[in-house]
C-alpha cells in the first residue's frame, strides 16, 4: 500500500502535562458583577471559544461592575500540523559587521547613508535607537558602529516633509522609520503618508534603491500588513536586531555582492 503525501496528517493538540490532553489557560474580564451568574457566563463563553470541559479556577471582582476570570479547559479544536505552511523566513544571508563593511567598501566605494527617524506623533525612539545607536540591541551594536555606514538619526516626531528633505540633503541610500504608537492605526497612516511623500519627491524612481532611497519601517504591530500595502520596501517586526537590518540593506542595495 502506498501513502500519498496529501493523506499524511499530523494532528496536534495543546499540551498541558500529557500528550493529547489539549489543555489551555485563558484569562478575561466580563463587565458584570462577581457571582454565580457571572461564573456561568464565563463558562459559556469558554465553551463557545471551543473549550470543553472547562473550569473557572479564579474569579475576582474588579470594582462593583467587572469580574476577572482565569479559566482552564480542554480545547476541542484539532490542528493538522502537516498542513501548516512554514512562514517565509529571511530571504537574505545574515552578515557580520565586517562583511557588511567589506561589501559597502568593495562595491559602493563610498559610505552607505542611512537616515532614521520616528515620524508623525510618535515619540518612542526606542526602536530606531536600538537599530541605529552604537549601543544597539540584543548584544549587537547599532548601525552607527558600522565603519562604512553613515547614520543620521533625526530622533522623534519628525515631520514627513523634514524627513524627505533630510534624506535628499544627505543623499540617503536608505530611510529607516520606526513606529510604536498604534492607537487609531497611527503607525499605518504615518507610514503610508511617508511612502507617498517619497514617491512625490522622487517622481522618476523605479523602486527602493533605484532612483529613491530604500524605505524600511519597523515596529511591533505591523504583522497584519505587507510592504506593498504601505508602499515601503521592507517591514521589520519586534525583536529585529541591527545585524538583520544591516544585512538586509546590503542584500537590497548591493545585490551583486556575494559574501563567499
Amino acid at each position: 500500500m502506498t501513502i500519498s503525501v496529501d493523506t499524511i496528517k499530523q494532528i496536534i493538540r495543546p499540551y498541558g502535562d500529557t500528550t493529547g490532553d489539549a489543555m489551555v489557560q485563558v484569562s478575561f474580564t466580563l463587565p458584570v458583577p462577581q457571582g454565580p451568574r457571572a461564573d456561568a457566563a464565563a463558562l459559556q463563553l469558554a465553551g463557545k471559544m471551543g473549550l470543553d470541559p472547562v473550569s473557572v479556577v479564579h474569579t475576582k471582582a474588579m470594582g462593583p461592575d467587572f469580574t476577572f476570570f482565569i479559566v482552564y479547559g480542554k480545547a476541542t479544536h484539532l490542528i493538522d500540523y502537516a498542513s501548516i505552511v512554514v512562514p517565509e523566513g529571511r530571504e537574505y544571508p545574515l552578515l557580520t559587521p565586517n562583511q557588511v563593511n567589506l561589501a559597502i567598501k568593495t562595491v559602493l566605494a563610498r559610505k552607505l547613508v542611512v537616515v532614521g527617524a520616528c515620524i508623525g506623533t510618535d515619540a518612542h525612539t526606542v526602536g530606531i535607537d536600538a537599530i541605529l545607536n552604537v549601543k544597539g540591541f540584543a548584544g549587537e551594536k547599532g548601525l552607527e558602529y558600522y565603519r562604512e555606514i553613515e547614520v543620521h538619526n533625526l530622533g522623534a516626531q519628525v515631520e514627513v516633509d523634514e524627513l524627505v528633505a533630510r534624506a535628499k540633503g544627505a543623499n540617503a541610500d536608505a530611510v529607516l522609520v520606526s513606529q510604536v504608537v498604534t492607537q487609531k492605526s497611527a503607525h499605518l497612516h504615518n507610514t503610508k503618508q511617508m511612502a507617498a511623500a517619497f514617491a512625490d519627491a522622487y517622481p522618476t524612481s523605479v523602486t527602493g534603491g533605484l532612483g529613491r532611497p530604500l524605505l524600511v519601517v519597523g515596529g511591533p504591530r505591523f504583522d497584519t500588513v505587507t510592504p506593498s500595502d504601505l508602499g515601503v520596501d521592507r517591514i521589520f517586526g519586534k525583536g529585529t536586531t541591527p545585524g538583520e537590518v544591516a544585512s538586509y540593506l546590503v542584500a537590497a542595495l548591493i545585490p551583486t555582492w556575494n559574501p563567499a
Partner: protein, 509 residues
C-alpha cells in the same frame, strides 16, 4: 544615616560641579525669553480662550507684538500700553503696538504687574486650598502609588481615573497626546480625541481636578493629579497647572531636548520660568532620568542618571523649588539576565535615596526588558516593587505586565495593584533591616557610580553642558545647541526688558 557610607566630601564635590555646569545655562535663561514665557505672562494676566480656528489669543497677541516691535522688551509693556485703548484683549490682535518709554512705561508696567499679580494670587489660593484639602481628606503615606490614565477622551479619563483612585492610586497621571510636546500652543477646551493620550488643556485640568476632589472626599485621602509640562509650552502648561491646582508635573531640564529634539536653549529658558511657577504653586516636579535608561544601558549609564538628577536639583533650587518639590526620577531597567541585576538595582536606588534624602523620588518600573512574557513581567514588577519598598522610594509608578503590548486593560491595572499591595504588606518596614554590608557589592557599586558621576560632571562643567548634550552624553542622543525645534522662539532680552511675573516670583518673601 547613610547605609552606603558615602563620603560627604565626594557628594559635596558632585553638587559643586553640578552648580558650576548649570551656571552658564542659568545665566542664559536670565538674559533670554521665549514666545512661550511671554504667552504665560499673558495667561497670568487673565488672557484666555482662542479664536475661531482654535489659535489661542495669547499666541495671536504675542505674534502680533513680535511682528511689530519685537519681544526684546517683553510682552507686558507693549500690551498694557496698548490696553489703554483696547479694553478687550481680543481686540489687541489688530492693535498698533509700541514699546512705551518714561512715565508711560512706568504706568504700563504698573498695570501689567497688577494684572499678573491677580493670576499669581489665584495660584497662591490654590496652594492654600490644597493644604486645606490635605488636612481635610488626609495625605496618604508614601510610597504613593502612581497610575496612568490615557484614553484620549477626557470624559473617558474621568471615570477611569476615579476607578483607579478607588483601586488604590494616590497619584493619577493623565498621559498627554504624544504630539502635544511639539505644539507651540496649548489647545483649548475639553478634548475628546488624542493619540495615545489626552491633550493637556486648562479645561481638561479643571475637569479632572474636580473629579478627583470628589473621589478624594469619598475615599478620605487626597488623590493627586499629574500632567506633563515638558515640551514647547512648558511655561504656559506650568501656569495652567498652577491656576487649576494640579499637584505634580513632569518637568525635566533635558527631556525635551533629548527625546523630542526641542532646541536646548529654548528648553532651558522655558524650564526656568516654568519651575518658578511650580515653586510658587507648591507643585512637585517629576524629572525624567528614567527615560535615559530606555535608550542607554542601565548599568553603563547609571552615572548619567545621577549627574542629570544633580543638574535637575541645581536648576530646581535656583528656580525656587524646595527639596520636597523635587520628584527626581530613576528606573528599574537593568537587564534581568545580568548576574546580580537586583543587587545592582538596589545599589542605584539606595544611592539616589541617600543623595536626595528629602526629595520625593519617583521610581519607574521596567519597560525595556518587558518582553511580552507577561508572567515573567509580573515577577519583574514584583522585584521592582520590592526594590522600591526596600530603598524607601517615595512615588512608585506601577508596572504593568502587559507593558509594550497594549495600553493597560482594567485587569492589568488590577493585577498590578494586587502585586504592589502584596509586596508592601509582606515587606512592611523591611527597609529598617536593609543594611548593605560595608565594603560589599552594593556599597562598592554605589560608590563607583558616584565616582563616575563626579568624573562626568567635571567634564560637563569644563566643556559646558550644551557641548555635553551635543556630544550625546545623556541618553546616547546628540543634540547640538543650534538645532532642534523651537529655536526661532528664543529672544535675547534688551535693556529695559520687563516681565512682571518673573519680578513677582523672584521677590523672596
Amino acid at each position: 544615616m547613610s547605609k552606603l557610607g558615602l563620603d560627604p566630601e565626594v557628594v559635596a564635590k558632585a553638587r559643586r560641579l553640578a552648580a558650576r555646569a548649570a551656571e552658564p545655562i542659568i545665566e542664559l535663561a536670565r538674559t533670554h525669553t521665549t514666545v512661550s514665557v511671554e504667552r504665560a505672562v499673558l495667561r497670568l494676566a487673565g488672557v484666555s480662550g482662542a479664536d475661531a480656528d482654535g489659535t489661542p489669543w495669547v499666541n495671536r497677541i504675542v505674534d502680533a507684538v513680535r511682528a511689530q516691535v519685537g519681544l526684546e522688551h517683553g510682552i507686558a509693556l507693549p500690551v498694557f500700553h496698548a490696553l489703554r485703548e483696547h479694553q478687550d484683549p481680543r481686540e489687541l490682535v489688530s492693535a498698533r503696538f509700541e514699546v512705551p518709554e518714561g512715565a508711560q512705561a512706568v504706568q504700563a508696567g504698573k498695570r501689567a504687574r497688577e494684572a499678573v499679580a491677580r493670576g499669581i494670587a489665584r495660584i497662591d489660593a490654590n496652594r492654600a486650598d490644597r493644604d486645606r484639602l490635605l488636612g481635610k481628606h488626609g495625605d496618604p503615606e508614601p510610597p504613593w502609588v502612581y497610575l496612568i490614565v490615557a484614553t484620549g477622551d477626557i470624559y473617558e479619563d474621568i471615570p477611569q481615573a476615579q476607578a483607579a483612585a478607588r483601586e488604590g492610586a494616590d497619584v493619577i497621571a493623565v498621559i498627554r497626546s504624544t504630539g502635544q510636546s511639539l505644539l507651540d500652543f496649548v489647545p483649548e477646551g475639553a478634548t475628546r480625541q488624542g493619540y495615545a493620550g489626552t491633550y493637556a488643556t486648562q479645561e481638561n485640568f479643571r475637569l479632572m481636578r474636580a473629579a478627583l476632589d470628589e473621589v478624594s472626599g469619598e475615599l478620605g485621602r487626597y488623590v493627586r493629579l499629574t500632567n506633563y509640562a515638558s515640551g514647547l509650552c512648558m511655561p504656559e502648561i506650568a501656569t495652567l497647572a498652577g491656576l487649576e491646582r494640579l499637584d505634580m508635573m513632569l518637568n525635566d531640564c533635558m527631556y525635551g531636548i533629548i527625546f523630542r529634539d526641542i532646541n536646548p536653549k529654548r528648553t532651558f529658558i522655558d524650564q526656568r520660568f516654568s519651575r518658578q511657577i511650580h515653586a510658587r504653586a507648591g507643585i512637585v516636579i517629576n524629572t525624567g532620568e528614567d527615560n535615559y535608561l530606555t535608550t542607554a544601558d542601565a548599568v553603563d549609564a547609571a552615572h548619567t542618571v545621577i549627574a542629570s538628577q544633580l543638574l535637575n536639583e541645581r536648576f530646581g533650587h535656583e528656580a525656587g523649588l524646595t527639596d520636597s518639590q523635587l520628584g527626581l526620577g530613576h528606573a528599574f531597567e537593568i537587564n534581568p539576565d545580568l548576574p546580580d541585576s537586583f543587587r545592582l538595582e538596589l545599589a542605584h536606588a539606595q544611592l539616589v535615596r541617600e543623595l536626595f534624602p528629602d526629595a520625593p523620588l519617583k521610581y519607574m518600573p521596567p519597560t525595556k526588558h518587558m518582553t511580552g512574557n507577561i508572567f515573567a513581567g509580573y515577577l519583574l514588577d514584583a522585584f521592582f516593587n520590592l526594590a522600591g519598598v526596600l530603598t524607601g522610594q517615595s512615588i512608585i509608578l506601577i508596572g504593568m505586565m502587559t507593558e509594550g503590548i497594549h495600553t493597560p486593560w482594567l485587569s492589568d491595572r488590577d493585577l498590578a495593584l494586587e502585586n504592589v499591595r502584596y509586596v508592601r504588606r509582606a515587606a512592611g518596614a523591611l527597609a529598617e533591616d536593609f543594611h548593605p554590608a560595608p565594603g560589599g557589592f552594593i556599597v562598592e557599586r554605589a560608590r563607583r557610580v558616584l565616582a563616575e558621576t563626579v568624573d562626568l560632571l567635571g567634564r560637563v562643567a569644563d566643556d559646558g553642558l550644551l557641548t555635553a548634550i551635543a556630544g550625546g552624553t545623556f541618553g546616547v542622543t546628540r543634540r547640538p545647541a543650534d538645532r532642534g525645534k523651537g529655536l526661532d522662539g528664543v529672544i535675547e532680552q534688551a535693556d529695559g526688558y520687563y516681565n512682571p511675573a518673573t519680578e513677582i516670583l523672584e521677590e523672596r518673601p
